[in-house]
């Protein structure tokens, strides 16, 4: 054997090693992989919690219905009429028990307001309360709802955003609702998929942000043109306009969008607001479909500055569908979770976990995407996600739902989707150019993700083990302690699917504490209040939110897990008014109702 042959042999061996390397790497576990001992006892013992779907036994039998839009969209109807299932949590009657609001999206269908019966069941009272019949033909259909006490009377009011006429309902002392849309001065028509309450100018009154998806000039039931689709799969700026409505305090709102510098026509699917820089003013994050995310820094309630690129969150265009904040490392700083699309072999966008970079703060704040490093990157066609401590161990976990169109399991629309998404604007933006989907699926029947935060920089995927086994086309996720047991239960709204209630059972060794805030100088809902809990040398920051995730709103109550520790050193509350309140050694295992000192 010559030296040449030996060298060729080595070269061939090297080549073969390279070829098999992907197969070896694929078999390596990405961090910790859950064991196969699925079951309630195993999940409780190993992970400290388990989830059980109990909607039916809780008296909820709701299946979302999708709209039927203009016949010119018939060939791609499942793609276009693919949103509208939404859930938000509210205690609308202030009885101390969380209620559920659920949207429906077929023309003539009814939304639901499930009152908590305090016995483990819920009862739909939407019609008797006056908020059920809101999808009448000609008025559009519901996409989602957010609750906020805009008139500071102590009761949460309802803003319903639609593809169609948005609606504002004033809560009349928990006994019913009055439609006040015209008086409020809201737009007559828009195609919105996100809205949040926030007090952007800190005047003690809740303002309203609405993010348009399709342009507001489009009536999806009476199309003047089929050129309604995004002009690009990743650089589209022909979507709906954004609205920031300033609360005048007399029941009406003033459109200040242009005045404060928000001028975007990206296709917004999720917005969330939080004070990211410690200025006291809420900054605004928007996750956009077909493009980059946008982050607006709030300059003292006078202007919003778009800082997506300088902060790092607005460079790589993806298909943003979720925005949720969480102090995932217990450092007192909020990370942002944005969901996107990942489909094996076709499109691997990966979700984004934007974590503040060490050493950056204030106007120089920068984020880095640690989704891959922390194990929360691949979630299929991801939609809604929320942070919350599911096992009360003191670390925020992450629940994600997903799945786009589940139809025929044996055929996929991905080829045609990829084909047309490649085209330039004249092709992609016209619905008539899109191939018919028929009965094909598009990222359907996907497994959900429940990522458990190990507190050491990794998330462990445990969905199947802890009992989350559904494969519906998930859209909206919300957390609440539905039965006042000191745990976070999970509610999931599915497109053309059932509303799911995952009842949480948590290991009793782990402790908890919760806070319900009432603003006085601040807005009564205390939206924007930041609560920092100090215990066992750790601290965790949470902020009262006026809407987060995808078309969702968690309970107003802030829930903290403590692990096995039985003492809390202190809690500080920074109210939206700027007032800082400290409570020393609050008792654990109970909900603290805190009123803002006057």
């Amino acid at each position: 054997m010559t030296r040449h042959h030996v060298a060729r042999g080595f070269l061939l061996a090297f080549f073969l090693v390279l070829l098999v390397a992907p197969l070896i790497l694929k078999r390596l576990p990405a961090g910790h992989t859950p064991g196969k001992e699925a079951g309630s006892v195993a999940s409780l013992t190993r992970y400290g919690f388990r989830l059980e779907e109990v909607a039916k036994t809780a008296g909820i039998d709701f299946t979302h219905q999708a709209p039927t839009l203009d016949p010119q969209l018939n060939h791609i109807m499942p793609l276009v009429a693919s949103m509208g299932a939404a859930v938000s949590i509210v205690d609308f009657d202030r009885d101390g028990w969380p209620d559920l609001h659920v949207t429906n999206s077929a023309e003539g269908s009814y939304n639901r307001l499930y009152r908590n019966q305090r016995d483990g069941t819920f009862k739909d009272v939407a019609t008797e309360m006056g908020v059920g019949d809101v999808n009448r033909p000609g008025t559009g259909v519901s996409m989602g709802a957010v609750w906020g006490d805009y008139d500071n009377d102590g009761y949460e009011d309802l803003f319903l955003y639609k593809w169609g006429r948005p609606e504002l309902f004033r809560n009349d002392g928990g006994r019913g609702f009055t439609r006040v849309t015209e008086k409020a001065g809201l737009p007559r028509w828009l195609n919105a998929n996100t809205a949040i309450w926030l007090d952007y100018d800190r005047d003690g009154r809740l303002d309203l942000f609405i993010g348009g998806y399709y342009p507001e000039t489009v009536n999806l039931w009476q199309l003047a043109t089929t050129r309604i689709m995004p002009e690009s799969f990743e650089y589209a700026q022909n979507g709906g306009r954004k609205y920031l409505f300033r609360n005048r305090g007399d029941g009406s709102f003033e459109d200040v969008t242009a005045e404060v510098g928000i001028n975007s026509r990206r296709w917004a699917l999720a917005a969330a607001a939080a004070d990211l820089r410690g200025t006291g003013y809420p900054d605004l994050f928007i996750a956009n479909d077909y493009g980059v995310s946008e982050l607006f820094f709030n300059d003292r309630g006078r202007r919003f500055r778009e800082v997506g690129k300088p902060t790092g969150v607005g460079f790589a265009p993806k298909s943003g569908m979720n925005a949720a904040f969480g102090d995932i490392s217990n450092h007192g700083r909020l990370a942002i979770y944005v969901t996107n699309i990942s489909q094996e072999g076709v499109l691997i966008q990966g979700n984004n976990l934007w974590v503040p970079k060490e050493g950056t703060s204030g106007d120089a704040l920068q984020y880095q995407n640690l989704a891959g490093a922390m194990g929360v990157e691949l979630g299929g066609w991801s939609f809604g996600a929320q942070f919350g401590d599911l096992n009360n161990d003191g670390n925020l976990d992450l629940y994600l739902t997903n799945g786009y169109v589940s139809a025929d399991k044996s055929t996929s629309y991905w080829y045609d989707f990829a084909k047309v998404a490649t085209g330039n604007s004249t092709i992609i933006s016209d619905a008539k150019h899109w191939p018919p989907i028929g009965r094909r699926s598009l990222s359907g029947y996907e497994q959900k993700r429940v990522w458990l935060n190990d507190g050491a920089g990794r998330f462990i995927e445990v969905a199947q083990v802890v009992g989350v086994t559904d494969t519906h086309d998930g859209r909206s996720v919300a957390f609440a302690d539905l039965w006042n047991r000191g745990v976070l239960d999970v509610v999931v709204a599915n497109q053309k699917g059932p509303l799911l209630l995952y009842r949480n059972t948590v290991s009793p060794e782990n402790n908890w504490i919760a806070f319900e805030l009432d603003g006085t100088r601040s807005n009564q809902s205390a939206i924007g209040a930041q609560v920092t809990l100090f215990w066992n040398g750790r601290q965790q920051l949470q902020e009262v939110s006026g809407g987060s995730g995808f078309c969702a709103q968690n309970q107003r109550r802030l829930h903290f897990g403590l692990g096995k520790h039985r003492e809390v050193e202190k809690v500080t509350i920074r109210w939206p008014s700027g007032q800082v309140q400290t409570i020393a050694a609050p008792e654990i295992g109970r909900v603290h109702k805190v009123k803002e000192p006057t």
């Binding site: 070269l11 080549f15 390279l18 992907p22 650089y235 499109l347 045609d416 150019h433």
Partner: protein, 288 residues
Amino acid sequence: MTPDLSASAPSPPAVATPEAAGPRWFRVDDRFLAPILITCILLAGQLSFGLLESGAKTALAIFAAVLTELVLARIFAGKWPHLASSYISGISVGILIRSPAIWPYVLCSMLSITSKHVLRVKGRHLWNPSNFGICAMLFLAYNTVASLSIQWGNNLWPMLIIWPLGSAIIWRLRRLHISLAYVVSFILFAFLRSALTGHAWQAEVAPLTGPMYQLYVFFMITDPKTTVRPRWGQYLVAFTVALAETILRLSEIVNAPFYALFLVGPTANLIEIWWASRPSTHAKQAAT
């Protein structure tokens, strides 16, 4: 997508006369034209649209390709290689594959370059290196890797710059006829697919308007080392690639263009090698 231009492009004269070659600072070795073009495309795409998810990943892909080429050529060919080809391989990998992980970029570049040294018949490598690497990753690491299929702004103006610029450079390298043959074939087959599927012809033509095809048309199918030598044969190969792609597309295979070239390119090469090795061919060559 790795033309080994060192073999086909004319080398600069050993002693250039200023009259013939123009000002010295203005002369460009043809072997650098393709790297310059692809670098321009990369920079234009990145600066205008943020084409790359990660500049670091692309840089790593380039580095891995160049380093692999240096090491393998030095060890197994006993010479320092011209790096234009490996640079294009690396940059192609950096643009054309998408993965949230870092390792696929390194591995794909290494596979691409190594395939060039391993998969050879009678001194010729059979596959376009980055085409091989990308297909291998799409087959073997499908859960982590996807191909570029959508980026570039989907506007016309980048195409209005890149198509003429690319055409001019490829024309100078005497490969434009291959690109044109493929593009014309693709468009004809797009209408055929439209007729067969009932889908709008615009949807069938749509991929050609995306950035991936610009890279594919200018850099991958024109690779001198991975197509046949007669001009008529090059037309035929380009047509056959488009035909194979159409068959794959009718089977709804997302990465059809990569797989089409993967199948047709080596087949054409093997046929040409076999043809050239026949005794009668040798006799004719000896006679002439």
